[in-house]
Amino acid sequence: MGGVAADLEDRLKALMLRGQAGDTAAWRELLSVLSGRFRTYFARRMDAGSPDVEDLVQETLMAVHRRHMTYDPSQPFTAWAHAVARYKLIDHWRRARVRKHVPIDDVADWLSDNATAEEGAVRADLDKVLSVLPERQRALVRDVKIEGLSLAEAGKRMGVSEGAAKVALHRAMKLLTQGVLKT
């Protein structure tokens, strides 16, 4: 586990403990961070652009909210949150009558974004595809489609409105499609 993952663990665990005690601000912050993590986690494992992803993010947040007393402070928090998300994903597939195998040890991937060699290769391909875009659009696609930020969050990062981010993202995706079709 790298330094970034350990920092994240410490930060989220502290928020969870305060939230368990009824701290509203800590709880809001924890749920916001988790929503981004959940979005990335589900988006990677489901069809791109499926509306189910956001539904599942919300369901998982509700589960975290209603079942937070099942977190035992002597255990790692990120493993707990990952287990809840994984349960929700499997439950979703079961209801959708899809049989898939979710590896139980993908918690490392949950913590860090470049966990495996395979992912490194995917990352390199991704960089090549994204290289057709101008800098700002590239950052936007990364933030929204890969990191799982919302349009509003990504817009704030770039200093533009949600609407502007949406339009820019749409243009970028169009450019990307053309770029991929050409090669």
């Binding site: 509203t24 809001r28 749920l31 919300q58 079942r67 099942t70 994984r86 439950d91 509003a152």
Partner: protein, 212 residues
Amino acid sequence: MKTEDLIEALALDTAPAKAVSPRLAVAAVLGGLMAFALVALWLGFRPDLAQAPSTRMFWMKAFYTSLLALGGFWAVERAARPMGSPRKGMILALSVFFLWVALCVWRFMGAAPADRMPMLMGQSWRICTLNILVLGLPILAATLVVVRGLAPTRLTLAGAAAGLFSGGLGATIYGLHCPEHAMAFVAIWYTLGVAAVTAIGALLGPWVLRWR
């Protein structure tokens, strides 16, 4: 509903929640009372209930089944959490069982051959296991309701752990009715009753414990 709005609504709803063990304790008390009522109204207390607590075997038997229940409690307390493992509690229950069997074998070898069959079969071997099963079921129902409100992710194991806990507690309460006092009898027929409730819990788990 937008996710940001949901987060805002949930944040405003924050409140400390009752921990896992007290919730399970509520199930134990409610289910235990139902099992106690079944003994009082249906099976009847053992006729020598007033004198029995002065015998060592009354407490040995209660100690054995209570330890099975304790192992079950520990197991279900863990298994009701995401990725929680009931292993330690189950190992405790199994160890207690094997220790009991070892004591039995030692006693059994010391007994006269003519006494051995009565030690095994007692007076009530036909009904003992079934009665423990019946007493365990209301406790199992209460426990499963509580566990469903928590967050088990391995549902068969969580169901089995709930069954072990309920069976152990049911068997302990059954001791108020059943006057059998041979260790070998308890080792076979009581344990079978607890195992039956455990198996039913394991079978029901994937159906009943699925939470949304």
